[in-house]
Symmetry: C2
Subunit: 335 residues, 2 copies
């Protein structure tokens, strides 16, 4: 018996994904069962894994390039907040049926864009077919000087709480993605709607913030499940509570326009997910230095509150009184 | 507003999975967004990812401990065949609904068993809820002396082809898992059926074979998608063809009993998946040394054929003539 065996799965990997691994020698062209990685001397590797699935993290009819970008971005965002430089990733894909060539090409193009933007290469993967939603599971590997990974649990009482960029854009973008007709009723023009939607579809990890974080952050994490929830996680991990002042929240112009028309959406801004900004704790006497260093690296950061003894997250609302926030953020398994 | 936020997802991770990470300091008790790994000096890391899903790789009513074992075993098997020592793994779980406590406890117990057997620890993970089959995606990290990862593409014409253990047990075990009533018609007694089923449910990566592989293998990979298909992959990657002699195939006692009753199942043995044995190419003049070293490490290996100039896999059947094998192995995307 002679086996030809240029089988579908192997061919899919070679035509679509092998080009994405060409920048990483240890990937061996995706022709082996494993990749190898020679670790940079004196560095720790930083490891994270996150999956995105159709119907949960993206829509079935999202552009395949956007799905690919987001799958990689949410992982690189984790690395960035830990002070790590992206190195390589592995990707496990499951499709309910054989994807169309055009879809695959778009997906690969989105990965190529994201790889170039984040400085990361494909090291290996796995592809299978199963019923259920299309899903993309990425494991990303970064690198940081030994012992220097920035943690969640090391914030101190009195530290200032910073966020990068602006918050809430992505959660508002999701509302528009669900129903584009909402543009006018949310008080947005087309450009504003496009901005918010872009923040939802193609989140941009804050790679440029890594040097200031390594210099100044006592603790950090990325904001993926909502500002209030993730502030609570950082504070709790450090055995502390947090106070946030809603009046200091950095909001994009379009988000401000939405709030003028629909003030109640402040809750969406606080608790919606998918920000992929960095939340950082910085000693109060270094707050100004952190702000300046971040600006010098091209990333605005804003002090939104502080860490305090105790527990829980308290939010001061726009009118200066305590704000009741019903949901605290996204949870896949609500208690 | 005060957020309590001992949310379901965080609690699931802390109660069920954090104990599995206690042996790995860089996992930080699964309380951070990333893990860190200080690479062993002078070593390369070896990376692989493989997913298992309900209805594709396991049955919905398989014992949760078996599902967990298999998810980890299939990844460790890849590391082992590359000559790597297991170090750590990340796991991404997706559930269609919140799993029952008893299911989770069984799953965690299976992981604990597998971790102890394979010498690997949980470094991090991700859990979400989505429609579709329960799936478990593992990324495993191993370690090998720098530059020493055993590849697929480096076999030489004339090399002997070896397999470890016995082949086909798992494919026959799957037939029994699909229908336990088949025991008698397959010519098996209860003990034989139990053996084959065990090989399907709890495959055992050949960790003990790592030293002989590092000493003697010119190329190697694990057999996961069927012997003929994976022989073809190793040969093709090396720019060669392969010849296999079915009469030399190492078969367990129960598999031999099956073949006496149902000779046609030789095809299932050749092309069924899930063997998780090692396929290794060894220079002909080192074949005896490899066999002795492997035996000394407690793993029988059998020379089943050789690598030859050309392409494709030719199989000599039990009667000494060429064997026609219809399917070449498992493919998620048949062309």
């Amino acid at each position: 018996m002679a086996s030809q065996d240029a089988g579908g799965e192997d061919e899919l990997i070679q035509t679509t994904f092998a080009p994405l691994a060409s920048g990483f020698a240890g990937a061996l062209g995706l022709k082996d069962d494993c990749a190898f990685l020679t670790p940079p001397p004196g560095e720790d590797l930083v490891l994270t894994t996150d999956a995105v699935a159709e119907g949960v993290h993206f829509f079935a009819d999202d552009a395949p390039g956007d799905i690919a970008w987001k799958a990689l971005a949410v992982n690189v965002s984790d690395l960035t907040a830990k002070g790590a430089r992206p190195v390589a990733y592995l990707m496990s894909l499951s499709f309910p049926e054989r994807p169309a060539r055009a879809w695959l090409d778009g997906f690969a193009a989105g990965l190529a864009d994201a790889q170039a933007a984040f400085g990361i290469a494909l090291a290996g993967g796995d592809t299978d077919r199963r019923p259920g939603p299309l899903s993309v599971t990425v494991t990303a590997i970064g690198s940081v000087m030994q012992g220097r990974m920035i943690r969640r649990a090391t914030a101190q009482a009195g530290d200032a709480l910073f966020v990068s960029g602006t918050v809430g854009d992505s959660a508002l973008g999701l509302l528009l993605r669900q129903d584009a007709e909402r543009t006018a009723e949310m008080g947005l023009d087309e450009a504003g709607a496009r901005h918010l939607l872009g923040r939802y579809l193609r989140p941009a990890p804050r790679l440029a913030l890594v040097p200031p974080l390594l210099s100044f952050a006592s603790a950090a994490m990325d904001i993926s499940d909502g500002l209030v929830k993730d502030c609570g996680r950082l504070a709790r991990a450090s055995g502390l509570g947090a106070e946030i002042d809603a009046r200091r929240l950095p909001l994009s112009e379009p988000a401000q326009a939405v709030l003028r028309t629909r003030p109640a959406l402040i809750e969406t801004i606080f608790t919606g997910g998918d920000d992929y900004e960095v939340l950082a704790a910085v000693a109060a006497n270094q707050a100004a230095d952190f702000r300046h260093a971040s600006a010098a690296h091209g990333v605005p950061v804003t002090e939104i509150g502080r860490l305090v003894p105790g527990e829980g997250v308290s939010v001061t609302g726009p009118d200066g009184t305590a704000l009741a926030v019903r949901g605290s953020g996204w949870d896949h398994f609500p208690a």
